[in-house]
Subunit: 847 residues, 2 copies
């Protein structure tokens, strides 16, 4: 049931629940986790619950599954097992969660079909807040009425279709218990765990001393807790570590203590723990001490999803120093201190901009590990704020983030100290250190702001060719954050003035203008307020007639139990091979040679397949395998089939392609210039064009640009081809919106009659138009390999390959021209939204 | 492509070609072999060619395959790969074989569909005799005519459809060569080969001395050459040997030499070699010396099939002393001598009735091995004959066989010595030793015969309860053989008299009466003379219209290449289990208990399935799994599913059933008495019955008995059930004539709608009515097991289980009564062949 969605902990489709027993606290901890990031070694002593363990049609459907299905929370169903697991992990920890917890639990789960509302609605019934049907906001709750029917504004009879649902209650006694043998194991005396892999040795020490010894012995070995950052480097940069240290059984690294200076948090604590600790601490402390914690909480609520937050450690977050890691700038402006240890003893370093930039004198040494982090209390005259701007409010890396702090000389608005740090600008966190220094002693007013903006933009220089692009936008964010910080502090100063200094000043300066106040309003981030209402069916309608009734997806229950079979869930077939493709790294080039000799020497590699192996037609509008030249980056050149996916990928990396570059066409405008069209130009004309424009009183004309868009169907393109033994027949199991096209292209590629190709499409894990033409090419790729080797071939694209190869919905470019005659009844009005796809062209960056 | 047909070397469906290199003779030997009998250890150094190696659609179809397919030599196609292999092995040894060799090569291949004629016709084109179309015997060969059309007796236009076929010629250069590495291996210095299995160690020594040492060390270890007899004991009696000696590399055991006394043949020579040696020797020797060899040849031509003859050794044939082994009585009357060897030295023993009965003083000792056999020349006054009666002329164990020899005092018809030995009567070969002694000195005349018959019947006593039944028939054969021997000898004596003693006697006695001579005529055993002719189609018939044309079976080529997929050829499915059944050993009994505990402990056994595991209907007219009682021997009681067939069978043997016997119903008459009917009595009536019989001049009435009959479809009942993951759907791949019945019974057994069950029938390897109702029950057996375990289940019956469980076509019993009135035009004539199946009953021996 667990699904592969992205491989980088970004979509939550692979969520499972990890349960461990803490022998000291005598507590079982349940945590949601992205299984794509979980090294198997890290699971020693842990119980893993997948969606199958929650409930199944064969045994018992869990209320989480039933309610999600019956409340229309599944459409394509591919994200559904992950949704179930996220809520399941939540409910195992909190039997009566708040709506905020429910929303938060789903932060890390992407859904492309539902828009989330039905999913959240289905889980509303588990919330401790009173819930009812979906007619909230109408002023009358259906539960208070005899019939759940209300009159909508149009006067039609409507009802929610979901009100007062008779769901079986949760019964926690029916849940799986934590395996007693694991509990016993956790209580036994600890011993060092060592796992030897082919390339990597994984060591889990039992004490800090042992860890420090190991770190001295293997200074290059990373400490891995949640594996959320090391794994990504492995996946994307093929980084590999001969030794990995796994410090999850060292009590010192899980310490949580409150000192006179602040809170000390163990470096191995995960971000969700940090959040919970801070949420518990804030109400208990004087408000002035908690400004830093509130700033951190602001980020901790939006950073990644609950799965990542439950696995990623505070120490890992700090030490891996990603430029768009949100907490570091805030921790830095809060003057946090890292407690380090090594064989040579303990020491403390300041987590500042120099540490974050990896400056040698400010950094930890190879033998050292971060044991814990001191996050000092903020002071009375401190103002600390955290900012982030991302593509979505949650579960997205920030584009730019920031931590800002100002300390005023007591009782004044004179800047005594100022720190401004930015993430997302350079390769490390950057500090506007010089600007801040220059501003010390200045008053907090508009002149200071204006000066500050100028200084910051000068100091935090972002060249127009900066990696990551969107330079203008990011530069704007630099000063926007600063402007907002200015206002927040100003507002805070005014508040203080009103309450403390009321006797000294007059009232005129003491409030922000309404315009400025509007900049301080937070975007709503709570529970979605959307409501779906259903038109009531005529009472005379036959109960068998489904039209107009809200009917559960036929596979809804199976989606929720993980029993719905998608292509990659099909049981392995005897003799099955895995396929990996080699794609073009050039936008436009001649293929001079393909050297597969080294790939063929990789153990497990069975064959390398190229355009020469296609017995018939090599694709239709596009070539399946590139022939003499490539016309875009990501075009498939050849395929490696091997006994395992790993071997196939390894083989693909070993194929050597020699290119001879040609001039690339990179934009639509370029393509038009080169007359490089896919189809004929499309035009929509209405009226007598010539006459119309001649006699026009006014002519409106212009251009229309629509950007490209990744479809991001949650199920990546997947195909399983099984050659039958007789008559070259083939079964093609494929995730496609256009089965006939698959059948025809495969048959024509293999030079067979179409009736020899059986194309099976049981269901598709999302498509959105993205699986109309491309799946046929992938099917051809796999079918040609199966035909050549005589063995079944499975070809499931990894997310990055899917995005690279398919290229998503094309960008569009259109022109419009409309004429209008005034003072006459005969007007020519052309639709503004002309279908401009006629100008989609062969641009070389993507098909 | 190689097929399982019987598992005991009886049907030839599994024929492969074994090629070995003889480094002394510098010759490659190709031999056909039943792979079901071949221990893998015996193949060290051998090249095995299966039908895939002969030719395939993917590469090149071999002429043997093409001609067999195009000449309509395949129908169900299951025997076809074996047919191809038998002829292939022949052609590799004899590029231009005689028709006799071709017929003989196919002796060991059963076909249930074609009647053999089309198979032999297709291979006629390889024979060195002139061949043409199938119009032999019409006096005009179509090859001599312009058009291959002749007028049949009815005057219709007919033609063979096969004349002058344009087949591509054989091209021996295209055959696989013997692997050079094996040739090299054979030439290298020999070393002892030892294979250690789980239970058995297999040792192949390099010299006679080494063999004798091993035999001394392991006196109980059998010597295995072709494994044709040891394997059967293993299959049927679970006999097992911790040590097996394989003496195929010992030159002394392959000796062929001619001495003053006779021919000495190595004990490891196979029967086909013996045949070839004798056929070569006979024409070269004076006729009087060869009488024994001719008698042996008579049996060697009919004994078993070419595969068995090519594998079974002379020594093995002698020493295993099967009562219906044909050669022993003949070798014994020929006074053959066994050359034995042991560590203690060499000695000779007479192969006589005492040796054959295993009498201790006449037997070989545990440490001894038979090195070779001396078959002495016969003498001038010898008459030696060999007799066998079997269910078919070839490839069937004899019911009774015999060797007889008489030596006359020179120049007389006075018996000087007489030996008569019978096989197939008792558990060993029996000698009419006393009778023979009494007859010495008697003249060879009718009185002697009459006395001899009396004596033999007294001495060779066959009680009416003798194992094997058919006592009357066998007793008849005892004297029939004797009578025939009497006539043969008498005829021989007359011939001699006519030629040698013509001067002494008058002519009246010198010829046998025509009636007696008729008893000496041999049954025709040569080339079938059948002809198939095809009606010519109208010349106006569209070429696309197939009606009336002789069209090759659509799968003909695939049958012949082995590429046609039958149930058991379907690739293994991931997680697939094998199923073995436990059947009733009682004719009628209550099942008191089923104890599966020991079976479940067998490694690999996954589950034991009984009637209790059937969620729905347990069969329709018959129970699939027996419930409270069994009503016949062979009724399925439960099923064991395991990771492998061996494990499943092992588990099935460990299930303990406790029965409480009930009175059995064993015959149809019994069943009628107990009113134990399957269906209502069936009657066919015609005319006014009452009136008809009242006014009848004559009433004819009687009973009609038709015996039961095994269908012997070459493909045993086979089913593969693959549960789909969703909705309890199942794919059922089954060999059946009635797919709907399978679908309905499986659905009802699993309590599912029929549309959840996909029943796939691609082809059936023979059925003949035997796969109408039974396959549904086997499908239910497997489907219930698959449903319980959630895993795919394959259930392929072994031949003995298939015959035991299905019971074949029932015996029938019918009554008829016909009235007739004479001298009137209104006669009532009832069909004689009334359908009497109405009286088929539940008899307990078989369903």
């Amino acid at each position: 049931g667990t699904k592969y969605g992205c491989g980088i902990g970004g979509c939550g489709a692979c969520t499972v629940m990890i349960s461990t027993y803490d022998p000291v606290a005598k507590q079982i901890q349940h945590r949601p986790a992205n299984s794509c990031l979980l090294p198997i070694c890290s699971l020693h002593g842990a119980a893993v619950t997948t969606v199958e363990g929650v409930g199944s049609i064969k045994t018992r459907i869990h209320p989480i599954q039933e309610r999600l299905a019956k409340c229309h929370g599944s459409q394509c169903g591919f994200c559904t097992p992950g949704m179930v697991m996220s809520i399941y992990a939540l409910l195992r920890n909190h039997a009566e969660p708040s709506m905020e917890q429910i929303i938060s639990a789903l932060d890390g789960n992407l859904c492309r079909c539902t828009g989330y509302r039905p999913i959240i609605d289905s889980y509303r019934s588990f919330a401790r807040e009173p819930t009812c049907c979906q007619l909230r906001g109408t002023g009358q709750c259906c539960l208070d009425q005899e019939e759940c029917v209300c009159s909508s504004s149009t006067g039609d009879q409507t009802h929610s279709g979901l009100c007062n649902p008779e769901f079986p209650p949760m019964d926690p006694t029916q849940e799986f218990i934590f395996p007693p043998e694991l509990m016993r194991m956790a209580q036994e005396q600890l011993r060092t765990l060592i796992f030897h892999g082919k390339r990597t040795t994984w060591i889990s020490p039992t004490s800090l001393n042992e860890l420090l010894e190991l770190k001295a012995k293997y200074p290059k070995a990373p400490l891995v807790v949640g594996n959320t950052s090391v794994e990504l480097k492995k996946t994307h940069h093929d980084a590999y570590h001969p030794i990995i240290l796994h410090p999850v059984r060292i009590p010192e690294m899980y310490v949580v203590s409150s000192t006179d200076d602040g809170l000390v948090i163990g470096a191995a604590c995960c971000l969700a723990q940090l959040r919970d600790i801070l949420m518990e601490a804030v109400p208990k402390l004087p408000e002035e001490k908690t400004k830093i914690y509130q700033a951190l909480l602001q980020h901790l609520r939006t950073l990644a999803g609950e799965q990542i937050r439950s696995m990623a450690s505070l120490g890992g977050h700090i030490v891996s120093r990603g430029s768009n890691w949100d907490l570091n700038p805030v921790l830095s402006v809060g003057k946090s201190v890292l407690n380090l240890a090594s064989e040579d003893g303990k020491r403390q370093v300041l987590l500042n901009d120099q540490f974050l930039a990896g400056c040698e004198h400010a950094d930890i040494k190879p033998k050292e590990v971060i044991v814990s982090v001191l996050i000092p209390y903020s002071m009375k005259d401190d103002f600390i704020s955290a900012f982030r701007q991302a593509e979505s409010q949650k579960n997205a890396l920030s584009i730019v983030n920031s931590g800002m702090r100002v300390l005023f000389s007591p009782g004044t608005d004179i800047i005594a100290d100022l720190s401004i740090l930015y993430g997302g600008i350079g390769s490390t966190t950057l500090s506007a250190r010089k600007s801040c220094e220059k501003l010390i002693g200045r008053q907090w007013n508009d002149q200071m702001l204006s000066e500050a903006c100028k200084l910051v933009l000068e100091e935090i220089f972002l060249p127009s060719s900066a990696p990551g692009g969107r330079v203008e936008y990011r530069r704007t964010l630099l000063v926007s954050f600063l402007f907002r910080f200015y206002l927040e502090v100003l507002h805070g100063l005014h508040q203080m003035v009103r309450t403390v200094y009321a006797h000294q000043h007059t009232g005129s300066d003491n409030t922000l203008s309404q315009e400025k106040m509007s900049a301080l309003v937070m975007l709503p981030s709570g529970v979605p307020q959307g409501v779906q209402i259903y038109q009531d069916v005529d009472s005379g309608q036959s109960p068998q007639d489904p039209v107009g009734r809200p009917i559960m997806h036929q596979s809804g229950i199976k989606h929720a139990t993980g029993e719905a079979v998608y292509i990659d869930d099909i049981r392995p077939v005897d003799g099955e091979l895995s396929l990996a493709v080699v794609t073009s790294i050039r936008a436009h080039a001649k293929i001079i040679s393909i050297d597969a000799s080294e790939a063929l020497r990789v153990p497990g590699v069975v064959d390398v397949v190229t355009a020469r192996d296609v017995p018939g037609e090599n694709g239709k509008d596009e070539q399946a395998y590139a022939e003499e030249k490539v016309i875009c980056v990501g075009q498939i050149i050849c395929a490696v089939v091997a006994e395992s996916v790993t071997q196939a990928k390894c083989g693909a990396e070993k194929v050597k392609i020699v290119y001879e570059d040609l001039e690339p066409i990179l934009t639509i405008e370029d393509a038009i210039k080169h007359k490089s069209y896919i189809t004929e130009e499309r035009k929509i004309e209405k009226g007598d064009i010539e006459k119309g424009f001649e006699s026009a009183d006014e002519i409106i004309e212009g251009e229309l640009h629509v950007g490209g868009q990744e479809h991001f169907y949650l199920e990546t393109n997947s195909v399983l081809v099984i050659p039958r033994v007789e008559d070259k027949e083939m079964d093609v199991y494929v995730s496609t919106q256009h089965a006939t096209d698959v059948q025809e292209l495969v048959a024509s590629a293999l030079n067979l009659q179409s009736n020899k190709i059986m194309c099976h499409v049981k269901r598709v894990g999302g498509a959105f138009g993205g699986k109309i033409t491309k799946p046929s090419l992938f099917a051809v790729i796999a079918a040609v390999a199966a035909n050549k080797t005589g063995r079944p071939v499975r070809f499931v694209l990894e997310r990055n390959m899917d995005m690279l190869i398919t290229g998503g919905r094309h960008p569009f470019f259109g022109k419009y021209k409309v004429s209008e005659r005034r003072n006459t009844k005969a007007t020519t009005k052309l639709p503004w939204g002309v279908d401009v796809s006629g100008l989609a062209t062969w641009s070389d960056t993507q098909g």
